[in-house]
Structure formats: C-alpha cells, structure tokens
C-alpha cells in the first residue's frame, strides 16, 4: 500500500481502537518482521494490536475497504513463516486477546480468545483434574490462535491427535469483516460442511479466529514415562516398530540421536544414559492397571532390542527431568553449531530405518552434520541440519541437504510437513507432493472464504489462483506439469 494509504489507515484505526493499538514507528514495526523462522524477514506496513473480536472486525473491515492484505500473528513461534508479515499489509497481532472466556467442565469445553497461551488452558483446569491435549514443544509461549492456524501437534498427538481433533467451534472474522460462529461449540457434529475442520490448519488464509472452543479431557489416572538408551538409531528404530507390533498406543514415542543427545547434554545436563547412540522416550497414560501392564511390555521390547539402560519416571519432577533434554533439543543444537535448519517431514513409520540411513548418507556426502530429534511414534522427523554461515558454501550445502530430506520423505510416501505448516518455507515443495489439479482444487476453498485474497496472501500455494476464474474441466494435455510450479519459484 502507498505511504498515503498507510497513514490514512493508521489514522482511522487509531480513532477506532485507540492510539496504543496501532504501531507505525519503523523500529517498533521491525520487531515483528519475522516469526520463529527468522531467515524470512519482512517489515509490515502497519501493526495493529486489537483487544477484542469487535476490534479485529474493525481492522479487517478497514483493510477490506482499502483492499489491503493482512496477516494474523499470535506469539510468533511458528516455524514455517506462516506469520511472515506482508510488506504492504497490516499485521494483526492477537497478543492482547488473552482472556479465557468460559470454562464448562460439565460439557468438557473452554471458550478462549486466540491470544491465550496453549499451556494456560491446561493450567486453568488442572486443579479440577482436566487438561487440553495438544502440546507443541512451544506450549508455554505459543498461542491457541496460532495452533488453530497451523493445526499444531506435539509429542502426544500419536495418541491424542492434533488441534483439529480438539477444537469444536470457532468465531471467525472473514476477510470481508463478518464475525461468524461456526462448528458445534458445546456439542458435536454441527449440521452442514465441517467449516471448523477446514479453518483449522489453513494457516491464516481463510480468515482470523476471534474465539476458539476447545475440548477438555480428564487427566489420566496414571502417567508413566520411560527413557531408554540404545547403542544406535538402528536398535531404537527397531524398538519403535516392535512397540507398534505389540499393539501399544503410547501417549508419546520420541527419539534422539547421538548428536542431539550431546547437544542437549551440553545445554541442560539432562544426563541421558552414557554412551547411548540413541534414546527413546516412551510415555504411557491411562488407567493404572493397563499402564502397569504396558510398562512391562515396553520394558520387554526395550530389552529385546538391546537397550543399554532404562529409567522410569512416575512423578512430575522425574518426568520433567526426562523430558528436559528432548524439549530443549532444538535450542540446544545452537550450542554445537553456529546455525541450523529445523526440518519437519513425515514418513511412514515402517520406513524409519531406511530413511534414517539415507539421511546419514546425504549428510556425509555433503560434509554436513544432521542431528535427529523426532516423534518416532508417528514418523514425524525433525532433522536439524547444522551449518556455519561464516563458512562459504555451508548454507547452500545445508539447504540442499534439508531439501533432499523432504524429497526422501516424499519418495517414501510421506509428507513435507507434519506440524510446522507450509507457510512460505515449503510452498515450492507443494507441487512435488500434490498435482496442479490438487492445488487448484484446494484453492477453491480459499475462493469461497476469501474471494479478494486478503487473508495472509502468498502462503501455502506457489501459484495463487484468481477467484474470478470459474473452474473448468481441462484435458490432461493442457494441465501444467507438476514441476512447473518449482520452475516458476
């Protein structure tokens, strides 16, 4: 937008929202230039911090009238650039919308504003014995609105599912500035299309949520956490497969390799089993009798697969001790490498061993180190590709390895993202996973929700679709090749 438009928009929004809600100063705007994926940076033309749904609507309406794009941002912890601002647009920050509006334990629901921190929900109901299940690693700082946008997972989604399974309703501000309630709120199965399920995971491209209705669960009777050290990733991988074969559905199955362990050790002194080439963390929860039985099954599997040491935590302090290394792993890698790329890809669980071996080969061939930290239970890899930006050529080598890992995931029938989202980071990979028809079909959804294309434009899809264009059958010959998108980008 032009400087004149920005000035006028800022003036109008100040008049409606108050001066403190509108940020125009360049240095202040610059603090919002990126989200958790810091190598994409764009200073937004304007930053607005609304305090209520009505204020969000005001901002969106003004943007709609002026034809100005906008991007929603929660805590800015996203790892795919989903909240990367638009240079000519407004950044709508939800951090002042942190009220838990209601808690209804009898119906197992809470209604919260989008800026509420994930962990705050579980904390609010903990004394009554309830919790909110999705637990991304950033749960102490990430917002529920951001979780909705990204359909966030976490360590326990192998058993409990993702954000989409725990959100029953939304208040949505459409890009035309209409506040609508969708979904089943305190009930289940709203009649009509599952609009809530479509909005969750749409990365802020279908509107901005102003209220979120989350499902609350009763805390399990027993939680047991086991930590096992293995000689190498091969044994830990075999143990993961054996747990599945034994018919177990643990709450979490997490794996770290030697490099990740050594980084965590240096950062937080987690004291994982000495000499371990890999560790597995398995958390079991549920009725006490069954958790006890399952623990023995897990211990047998560990022993059969050559575990060198097994530890057990049953109280919160011991559990925190075990999880400390895993939860700090991403940041800890900063101790052993100047720079690193956090990758997020998914493979079928049964391909684990072969994919890990291939990642090792890729890294070796490129002369790059890769630390592996991942949700083994659902095949969600988080390889950390290490490099030093001051060494010429290392960044390129790291990017190339990181990209090749995603190709590897796709070659095994997997996905380019399990929980971090596409954002701007993986748009170019979308045509490798989906055909041009698939991507064009997905964008029909966007055209229904956001015809002017003002909600977080330039994300997810490498080739945006113009909504005026009616869908037509096309012959196979005229369909663009699936690699065309990559050439364009």
């Amino acid at each position: 937008m032009s400087a004149a438009t920005a000035t006028e928009l800022a003036r109008r929004l100040r008049a409606r929202l108050g001066a403190s809600a509108v940020v125009t100063d360049e240095a202040a705007r610059r603090t919002y230039e990126c989200d958790g994926l810091a190598h994409y940076r764009t200073v937004p033309a304007l930053v607005v911090l609304p305090e209520s749904a009505e204020q969000v609507r005001t901002v969106v309406r003004e943007c709609h009238e002026a034809g100005v794009p906008w991007v929603a941002r929660g805590s800015g912890t996203g790892l795919s650039g989903g909240a990367l601002p638009h240079a000519d647009g407004v950044l709508i920050v939800t951090s002042r919308m942190r009220r838990i509006l209601s808690i209804d334990l009898a119906n197992g629901r809470a209604v919260v504003e989008p800026g509420v921190i994930n962990l705050a929900i579980s904390r609010a109901v903990a004394d009554d014995g309830w919790f909110y299940a999705p637990d991304p690693s950033s749960q102490s700082v990430c917002s529920i609105g951001g979780n909705v946008a990204e359909n966030s997972g976490g360590a326990k989604c192998v058993k409990y599912g993702f954000t989409v399974h725990h959100v029953t309703g939304l208040e949505l501000c459409t890009s035309e500035g209409e506040l609508i309630r969708i979904g089943s709120w305190l009930a289940a199965d709203a009649p009509g299309y599952d609009l809530t399920g479509l909005v969750v995971g749409s990365e802020g491209t279908l509107g901005i949520v102003t209220k979120v209705v989350v499902r609350l669960l009763r805390r399990p009777e027993q939680v047991t956490t086991l930590l096992a050290g293995f000689p190498s990733m091969a044994e830990a991988g075999a143990a993961t497969s054996a747990l599945v074969a034994a018919g177990l559905v643990p709450a979490a199955v997490e794996m770290m390799d030697a490099l990740a362990i050594s980084a965590a050790e240096q950062a937080v002194a987690c004291r994982y089993p000495e000499g371990a080439g890999a560790v597995l963390i398995v958390e079991l929860d549920g009725p006490a009798v069954e958790v006890a039985e399952e623990e023995w099954t897990v211990r047998e599997v560990f022993a059969d697969c050559g575990a060198i040491e097994v530890r057990r935590a049953v109280d919160e302090a011991e559990r925190a001790e075990i999880w400390k290394g895993r939860k700090s792993a991403f940041a800890a890698v900063g101790r052993i490498s100047r720079n690193y790329i956090v990758q997020d890809g998914v493979i079928p669980r049964t391909s684990l061993a072969s994919v890990l071996a291939s990642i090792d080969e890729l890294a070796r061939a490129a002369g790059i180190r890769v630390a592996n930290v991942f949700h083994a239970g659902d095949g969600n890899l988080h390889p950390l590709v290490l490099y030093d930006e001051t060494v010429p050529g290392e960044l390129d080598a790291a990017l190339s390895v990181s990209g090749a890992i995603l190709d590897l995931c796709l070659a095994h029938g997997g996905s380019i993202t399990g929980e971090h989202g596409v954002g701007v980071d993986k748009m170019a990979k979308m045509p490798r996973m989906f055909s041009a028809d698939d991507l064009q079909t997905m964008q029909l959804l966007r055209c229904a929700f956001d015809p002017p294309g003002l909600a977080n434009p330039g994300k997810i899809f490498p080739t945006p679709r113009l909504c005026g264009e009616p869908p037509r059958p096309r012959s196979a010959e005229s369909a663009p090749g699936i690699h065309q998108g990559i050439e364009i980008w």
Binding site: G108, G192, P287
Partner: protein, 415 residues
C-alpha cells in the same frame, strides 16, 4: 429419494467416474444432475432431491488398495463395504474405529453421511480418522488431499469438506484412514431397567435458553459419566425404548484382559451407586440395540447433537410431547443421540417440538436434525434448523459445483 426415471451407472474405476461426470456436464447447456450412491442404505436420509437424472453407484469401486499394518494405515476404494474392510483389518489385529448403523454400508457412504457409532466417544468420527482422500469434482477433475501418513499438515484438508457433505461436493473414490489395534479384551457394563425419570429432567424446557445459563438439572445417569471418565470407556450408550422402567445404559470398556476386568468392575460399582436399585451386569456381548438406529424404513428419524448437560432436559421434553411413540438411542457420553417416531405422528406437534428445542439450544452449537422422514412429511419440515455458517457453505458449493450438478436439494439450505 431417487425417482424411477433416473438411470443407474456403475463405473468400475476412477476413469469411469470421470467419464460419467464429464458426460453429464456435457449433455446440453444445462447438463444432467447426478446423485452418488453406495449401498443405498441411507438413500432416504436428507432432503428430497430436486432433480436427478443419473444415479452414480460407487459399488464398482471396491477393494483395499494398500494396507501396511506396521504403519496402521489403510487405503481403500470408496464402494468397499465397511464390514468387508473390517474383516480384512481384523486379520491383522487392527480395526477402523468408524461404524455404521447399517450392515451393508460402504466406506464412501459412511463418510459422506457423517455416520458414526458408539466408538465416537473415544475415537471421533470418520473425518477424524480420514488422513487422505481422492475424489472427482463436478467438472470431472480428479483431486487429492492429505496423504498416507498419520501426521500431515500440507495443504487444506479437503477430506473435512467431503465428510458429512451428502455427496454435494464430489464423488469420493478412495479414502486413506488411520487405524487402531483391536483390543485384546472388551466388556459391556449394562444397567437394565433404568427408570426414565433417572435419565430425564421433566418439567419442560427451562425458561430462557441453554446459552443464557437456563438450568440443566444433572440426572444420575448423566452424573455417572463424569465419574467413569477416568476409566476411559470406549462408548457410553443409552436406550430408551418401551416402558418407563425399561431404560438401559451400557458402557463399553476395551483394553487388556486384566485391565478390562478391573475397569469394568469399577464402572459397575459407580453405576450401581448412581442408579440405585438397578441391576448392573458385566457382559461379553453388546445389547441387541447397540449401534442401531431407533428408526426404520418409513419412520421419522432425528439426530440430537447436544451439549451433554442438555441431554436430560431435551430428552424429557421430547418424551413429554410424544410419550410412548418416541424411542431414543445413542451416545450419552458424547451427547449425540438418535430418536425415532412413527410417520403417523402429528406433524404440527413435531414442528413445534423442533422449533422449541432448537430455540432453547440456540448459541450452544447443539442441533436437532431430521435425518430421515417419509417424503410427504419431509418436504414440510425444516430438516436442519438454523445452520451456522450457511452463507459460507453456499459459497463452497458454488465453487466446487457451480452448476449444482451433484445431489441437488439433499443438504443444508437446499444445497
């Protein structure tokens, strides 16, 4: 409801589906309309079709495409009977936690109608377990979303649009699901001879609406739900059929043999305590009504999707108005229940009851939907009630099927 004039086509593969859809679109400026049908078990569900020239049967699209037990994932063609799929999966010690009230239902039909059985309490419904889908659009384009891995957030999840869409968006051709291990042991804790007044809150709908905090009075059978939640029941079902003292509540517990035995005993004790004077037994088989709709061909069937605290009040209200004509079954645990009424019921009474209950639920997200009714009654009823987000749904339909070729009239708002 399909007219006799419509022609039935049964393509054998996706290319065949594309041909049918394309040729329907090419037939003159208006084109022809299609309705999509699996086994036809729910052909009488939804609104009356305004027009149908072609019935596109998916029953030629059958079989498992891929099943990798180690990944707990299966890809299956949409015309495959759910029962057949379950048999295949059972051989590998696995199951798909999606159920139908009809024995012959196909995968595609269960997804498109949004059917879910007792297990929904613990596992959700089809849309929660569907991880990838392939479908044919109204213009004949084949599209996919999701994938073959259980965790995946790449792109929009179009499966969410198709599930519960009653065939108004596209023809589902292939579905990929997340699976679960079959439990080693199962037990049903059944309370029989529950007096209806232990389940219901009589006295009509409290003044005001539920969203305004109008009192919901917890009844024993509902209160027991909170107590047994930590025993992780897979299902909590109720059956109110016949005489006032013949209600039943049944809780399914699944897991290891020792675990199930212990939990079933705990649930039994808690239920016996809450439902004083009632016989509570632990049995190895489900009651005969388990997972069955309380309505048959030609009856009126309602789906009540309620906040669980509203269940006693809403059921009591319907019971007071229809007394012995009303039968109710479903998930007390998740608040999704079905009610059956004979077609001879006073339609004005039904219209009033729907309006009153819907008004009382306003703002809570709860709904009462007329799932099925004879055509003569159906066309005079508001089948869906007020639908949140209907204008967005109209826009979705306009994007995916601008000519209104698929299943016109059957869905919310006449879509």
């Amino acid at each position: 409801m399909v007219t006799n004039a419509a022609s039935l086509v049964r393509p054998a593969d996706v290319a065949g589906v594309v041909d049918v859809v394309r040729s329907a679109g090419a037939a003159g400026p208006v084109g022809r309309t299609l309705t999509i049908q699996g086994a036809g078990t729910k052909a009488a569900w939804g609104g009356s079709l305004t027009a149908v020239d072609i019935v596109l049967s998916t029953t030629g699209l059958t079989g498992v495409v891929a099943h990798e037990p180690g990944d707990r994932v299966v890809t299956v063609r949409s015309g495959t009977p759910l029962r057949e799929l379950q048999e295949t999966l059972a051989a590998a010690g696995q199951r798909l936690c999606v159920e139908s009230g009809y024995d012959d239902a196909t995968i595609g039909g269960v997804l498109a109608s949004g059917e879910a059985g007792p297990l929904r309490l613990r596992y959700g419904s089809g849309r929660d377990l569907l991880i990838g889908v392939e479908f044919v659009r109204a213009d004949g384009v084949v599209a996919r979303s999701g994938g073959r891995v259980v965790k995946n957030v790449a792109g929009y999840d179009l499966g969410r649009l198709l599930c519960g869409s009653f065939g108004t968006v596209g023809v589902i051709t292939t579905a990929t699901f997340r699976l679960h291990p079959r439990p080693a042991a199962s037990a049903w804790v059944v309370a029989a001879g529950v007096r209806k007044d232990a389940l219901l809150s009589p006295g009509g709908l409290p003044p005001g609406g539920l969203a305004d905090g109008a009192g919901t009075r917890e009844r024993a059978a509902i209160a027991v739900l909170a107590d047994i939640a930590t025993m992780v029941p897979s299902a909590v079902e109720g059956n109110l059929d016949g005489p006032d003292d013949a209600g039943e509540v049944a809780v399914l517990v699944e897991g290891s043999p020792a675990g199930v035995a212990a939990r079933a005993r705990t649930v039994q004790a808690l239920m016996a305590d809450q439902l004083a004077g009632v016989d509570v037994a632990v049995v190895a088989q489900p009651p005969s009504w388990w997972g069955r709709y309380p309505f048959g061909d030609g009856d009126i069937g309602l789906k009540l999707a309620l906040p669980v605290t509203a269940v006693p009040v809403v059921l009591a209200t319907l019971h007071e108005r229809f007394s012995a004509l009303l039968t109710v079954r479903g998930s007390l645990g998740s608040g999704v229940l079905y009610a059956g009424l004979p077609a001879t019921v006073d339609v004005r009474l039904l219209t009033d009851a729907l309006a009153d209950v819907r008004a009382w639920l306003a703002g809570t997200g709860g709904s009462v939907v007329v799932v099925t009714a004879p055509p003569s009654i159906r066309d005079g009823l508001d089948l869906w009630g007020e639908v949140a987000g209907l204008s967005l749904m109209r826009r979705l339909k306009a994007q995916f099927d601008p000519a209104g070729r698929f299943t016109a009239g059957r869905f919310v708002g006449g879509l």
